[in-house]
């Protein structure tokens, strides 16, 4: 049974939640409403006049081939980052879950990347793969691979995917490791005695018991990749070369802040907001239940 503490009256409870409500209003509801308002307006180039245009900004957006391309690009980016971050983290967690010497040390090491600021992470990767001064980048060119992420859009995309995924591996790793350790040892031992080995045991026993963690991380990683990778992507190439790494979040920034097209940028923000709300709803409705049973 859930335990509840009941506060008397209405004033005290209201007072207690006021700080949190204030933060939400000032930093979320207010700008969100502002964005919705702006998304329905058009400003002239000098910002002197504003006219109400209804849903015209949205209509323009979805008929803009550049925006539609950005949606596809972002989807690809999200799927790749999520798959890579989860796959690598799961592999590392399975390895780290075994009984070997010095595991406390490498568990700590594996958690470190999470503490690295996103822009720093991007710079680290740039320094590694820079075609002239980067260790890996220069080596690739020396062995004859035409590697230059500043010219080649596909290579740039691969780089931002890897950099963004690398940041998220630590987070996933922590959850996977905790999930693995929550599986009773005797269940795995029972499977061993039943004759199950290696990957078969992982697939039939460990993975099914890890599914709640997998679902949870799937949503978290998708949200991360879609909305929380701005710093990493921007620091690598600023969305370039061309628009090859321009994800939706980057486009909001470039269109609104850099190119001062407030109406379109606000409309994009509203679209993104709708996306976040859908993902969060999925997580709460579906996974919230799943985790309990």
């Amino acid at each position: 049974m859930e335990r509840r503490t009941l506060f008397p009256g209405r004033l005290l409870p209201a007072l207690l939640i006021l700080p949190q409500l204030a933060l939400t209003v000032v930093f979320f509801l207010w700008p969100a409403l502002q964005a919705i308002k702006s998304s329905l307006e058009r400003e002239d180039a000098f910002g002197t006049s504003t006219e109400f245009v209804g849903l015209e900004n949205f209509a323009d957006l979805f008929s803009d081939p550049l925006y539609v391309a950005a949606i596809g690009r972002t989807a690809l980016f999200c799927v790749c980052v999520t798959a890579l971050a989860m796959g690598v983290a799961l592999l590392l967690a399975v390895l780290a879950d075994t009984e070997i010497r010095g595991r406390a040390f490498y568990r700590t090491m594996l958690i470190w990347p999470y503490a690295v600021a996103p822009a720093m992470a991007a710079v680290l990767w740039v320094l590694m793969v820079h075609p002239q001064i980067g260790l890996v980048g220069a080596w690739l060119n020396r062995i004859g691979v035409a590697w230059d992420y500043k010219l080649d859009g596909t290579q740039a995309m691969a780089l931002v995917i890897v950099a963004a995924a690398w940041k998220q591996v630590s987070y996933n790793f922590i959850f996977f490791l905790a999930g693995l350790q929550a599986i009773p040892k005797t269940i795995v031992e029972a499977a061993r005695i039943d004759g199950s080995r290696g990957f078969h045991r992982f697939r039939t026993i460990v993975l099914p018991l890890l599914m709640p963690t997998v679902y949870f991380l799937l949503v978290v990683d998708l949200v991360y990749a879609a909305f929380d990778t701005f710093a990493t992507v921007y620091a690598v190439n600023g969305g370039g070369p061309g628009q090859s790494t321009q994800t939706l979040v980057l486009k909001v920034y470039l269109d609104g802040v850099v190119n001062a097209n407030i109406g379109s940028s606000s409309a994009q923000s509203v679209v993104l907001m709708a996306g976040v709300i859908v993902l969060c709803a999925v997580q709460f409705r579906y996974l919230g239940r799943k985790a309990v049973t």
């Binding site: 009773p184 005797t186 269940i187 031992e189 029972a190 499977a191 061993r192 005695i193 039943d194 004759g195 199950s196 080995r197 078969h200 039939t204 026993i205 099914p208 018991l209």
Partner: protein
């Protein structure tokens, strides 16, 4: 043919020696119960046989085949765990079928085997349920079912009844015994519960601090405990152990200056040899002419009662008497010569009469 043989089995975790050399042979179809206090190494021994731990030294032979280095999956054994260790995401049917599927049996044969096992255990109506929808006793049965469908060479039981309530434990104890008798599978059963040990085992192995101290039938262990540890461990309440001195050419023991005759038995130790005299609570006799013990506590157990008596010098004595026996502040007791056990006080080992 030996069902299971252990040769010089040792196990250390770091500098900590848990198992200090166990040699053991189980006949085909025999049920051996390993009993001991927690930390005596009994569970480690079982895990070594299962292959979940690897021994520091020694060999394990199942059906005369050396399996010491083999993975648990290659030993053809089945194990019932204390917490059942059912696969929570699988139905009862799939739990039982899991090991058979791995062995690549055809579907119809799996179905038949699981059906046979589940009707044997009364699980027919539960095959589609998940473990979390089952009671403790039902989970226990599924764990048993998972073990028997495999038709293994060896059953291992790791305190399988510890998580059940008292009534269910008695019932399942009987079922396990019946099943094992019926299937005649060589079994190793680990428990700390001496009642389980006495009722289930063809033979008992009493372990103490990593060393097997007695291997014998339950009757033998109860009637002729090999040392003071076994004497104190098997039997409830525990055997009374009193320090004494052997005298009169090995025919009496002096306890607190009172000479207790040993009947027509004689022990080949010099007079004055320090011994420990053992007598079970149910064998202590009320005797108006006997020695006097102040009563400390009386516990009623229904049809009988336990009387705990103690002396100022710290010596204590427990009596098991029929309920309603007349008691005052002190009891006068004597020790029937035929019921006395004698142990060497220095080594703790049982002393046998020479004639």
């Amino acid at each position: 043919m030996a069902g299971l043989r252990l040769e010089g089995l040792r196990k250390s975790f770091g500098a900590n020696e848990i198992l200090k050399g166990v040699d053991l042979a189980l006949a085909d179809g025999e049920m051996l119960v390993i009993v001991g206090a927690s930390g005596c190494g009994k569970s480690t021994l079982l895990r070594l046989v299962a292959g979940l731990e690897s021994p520091t030294a020694g060999r394990i032979l199942i059906d005369d085949q050396d399996v010491t280095g083999r993975d648990p999956s290659a030993r053809d054994i089945a194990m019932v765990f204390q917490n059942y260790a059912l696969y929570p995401h699988m139905s009862v049917f799939d739990n039982m079928a899991y090991g058979l599927k791995i062995r690549g049996l055809p579907k119809s044969e799996i179905r038949a085997k699981v059906d046979a096992a589940s009707s044997l255990l009364g699980l027919d109506a539960l095959l589609d349920r998940k473990p979390r929808q089952l009671s403790g006793g039902q989970r226990q049965r599924v764990a048993m079912g998972r073990a028997i469908v495999r038709d293994p060479k060896l059953f291992l039981f790791d305190e399988p009844l510890s998580n059940l309530d008292a009534k269910l434990r008695v019932q399942m104890r009987g079922e396990i015994r019946r099943l094992q008798r019926r299937l005649r599978v060589t079994s190793l059963y680990v428990t700390h519960d001496q009642v389980e040990a006495m009722t289930l085992g063809d033979r008992l192995l009493v372990m103490h601090q990593g060393v097997p101290v007695q291997l014998a039938t339950p009757t033998e262990v109860f009637e002729r405990p090999a040392d003071t540890y076994v004497a104190g461990f098997i039997g409830s309440p525990a055997m009374n152990l009193l320090p004494g001195i052997l005298g009169r050419n090995g025919t009496v023991v002096a306890v607190e200056g009172t000479e207790i005759p040993l009947g027509n038995r004689r022990f080949a130790r010099p007079d004055g040899h320090p011994v420990t005299l053992g007598i079970r609570p149910e064998h202590v006799a009320l005797d108006p002419a006997g020695t006097s013990w102040p009563v400390e506590v009386v516990e009623l157990l229904g049809s009988e009662m336990l009387v705990h008596a103690g002396r100022a010098d710290g010596a204590s004595l427990t009596l098991r008497l029929p309920n309603g026996a007349a008691l005052s502040d002190t009891v006068r007791v004597s020790f029937p010569a035929g019921q006395l056990h004698l142990f060497d006080r220095a080594t703790g080992l049982r002393l046998e009469a020479v004639a």
